[in-house]
Symmetry: C2
Subunit: 268 residues, 2 copies
């Protein structure tokens, strides 16, 4: 199994370009995982930021087409080198064609508690009482990502798997990296998009490809598992919005994301 660090290794080849490899382990249903691709982009672009801005703190990505597994190139550019942040753009390209385009803000995260918090950590049963998502669910897609991310979904929300979704548009889970390494700002980009589409919980079990996704990293996570809650506000016009919030083992918000995804309502 490719560790996250190895799967997101980047090799600078000069002029803001980086050789990367799209790793098949970090994939879902035969396609590279979106959060993993953003992590690749952030790792590469981050190398152009100064030492004072070592962390990805915000990233917005447009998903153009799923890249093939194997070699790819990141092309990154500093848009503004500021005192507090470095703002960049980056493009993941394959055969000279962009497949994911991103805007990135690099800065400095710390592990301080929030000054104010309005988002209580999602309540979940103990990890041992949540079911680990399988790599090959019955009648479902092949999910190599579930080998490297230990995803334990709230059993009260697993009705979708037996045709009885709660219809509340919400899923939540514990997550750990399977190799025992701790979460960091880049791997949190994976965690923010690892739950099944919440449309599953709304009676629409088809895949929901991400069109645009934006994530903010809020602080360095404490060691241990994270809790992630994903919910939707509106399903219509063949689009679903999803908001993910991730809390560390100390119950502090460490990352958050929103995305707009396509959903084929007619497929039912």
């Amino acid at each position: 199994m490719a560790s996250f660090a190895k799967a997101t290794a980047v090799r600078p080849i000069g002029d803001g370009r980086f050789d990367v490899t799209v790793d098949p382990q970090w994939s879902i249903g035969g396609k590279p995982h979106g959060g993993y691709l953003l992590a690749l982009l952030a790792r590469a672009a981050g190398q152009l930021a100064p030492r004072e801005h070592p962390h990805v703190t915000a990233i917005s990505g447009s998903f153009l087409s799923p890249p093939a597994f194997g070699p790819a190139e990141v092309r990154a550019e500093v848009l503004r080198a500021g005192r507090g942040v470095t703002q960049l753009r980056a493009s993941l390209t394959q055969d000279g064609r962009p497949v994911v385009e991103a805007l990135i803000t690099q800065g400095l995260l710390d592990d301080q508690d929030p000054v104010w918090s309005g988002a209580e950590p999602v309540e979940l049963p103990d990890e041992s009482e949540c079911f680990r998502s399988p790599v090959d669910p019955p009648g479902g897609m092949h999910l190599p990502l579930m080998e490297v991310v230990e995803l334990r979904v709230n059993p009260a929300q697993l009705g979708f798997a037996v045709g009885s979704p709660t219809m509340r548009g919400e899923l939540s889970a514990w997550m750990r990296l399977d190799d025992g390494s701790d979460w960091d700002p880049w791997s949190l980009l994976v965690a923010l998009d690892t739950l099944p589409p919440v449309s599953f919980d709304l009676g629409h079990p088809g895949w929901a490809p991400t069109i645009q996704l934006s994530a903010y990293l809020r602080r360095l996570p404490a060691p241990g598992p994270i809790r992630v809650r994903m919910h939707a506000n509106d399903l219509g016009g063949e689009r679903l919005d999803e908001t993910a919030l991730a809390w560390d083992s100390k119950g502090r918000l460490v990352a958050q994301a929103t995305q707009i995804a396509g959903v084929r309502i007619a497929d039912r």
Copy 2:
């Protein structure tokens, strides 16, 4: 007063470039309004999309530096021309320097009701019982935007103006365009960032400049006023996240946004 249509007029000059004018009417405290700048970018980039994709449906922007009022140029590029959407990037430049960089998804919106909704419209007193925000609040910044956008904030949340914020991190309001024109996908980009920073409601009355903002347009709004609720999840590390949801006069979600903004906690 410059109407929204006039203030966001774009003139193609070929090769994906557009002449625009940054209008001082659509400004806050001497700086162009962020949502207005995104609307300028979307209007220009949209001209590169085919007739089948007439609407901005998603936009993510990185705010690099506040542009000066007056002439500017948008440079836009189609990243992927798909069947359902056209994905683009666009840059607002002044003196050849990027000031706002954006990723845009153009598509086709309709005015259909949602298949499912999990976000009830925010409850507000009648418009007549909400106070219209002034252009020149006592001791505050000059806000020309408040001449063109009729912002009527929930009076129960106005404690911040007298030093008694609710500390709930939430503000909500009715909004209309002052000239009587109806909301559209582009002007909704303004509405999503027109409430004061919700840090005002958390006892931090300093300005909160947007670093990145992402908005999704969900359907064409019904005529009449919209309701917008903005709330925060976490304030810390000199950063505040804000989520805005906008409902039309039929109570349907028409637009939503998240942003990460800078807040100087030490300024208190």
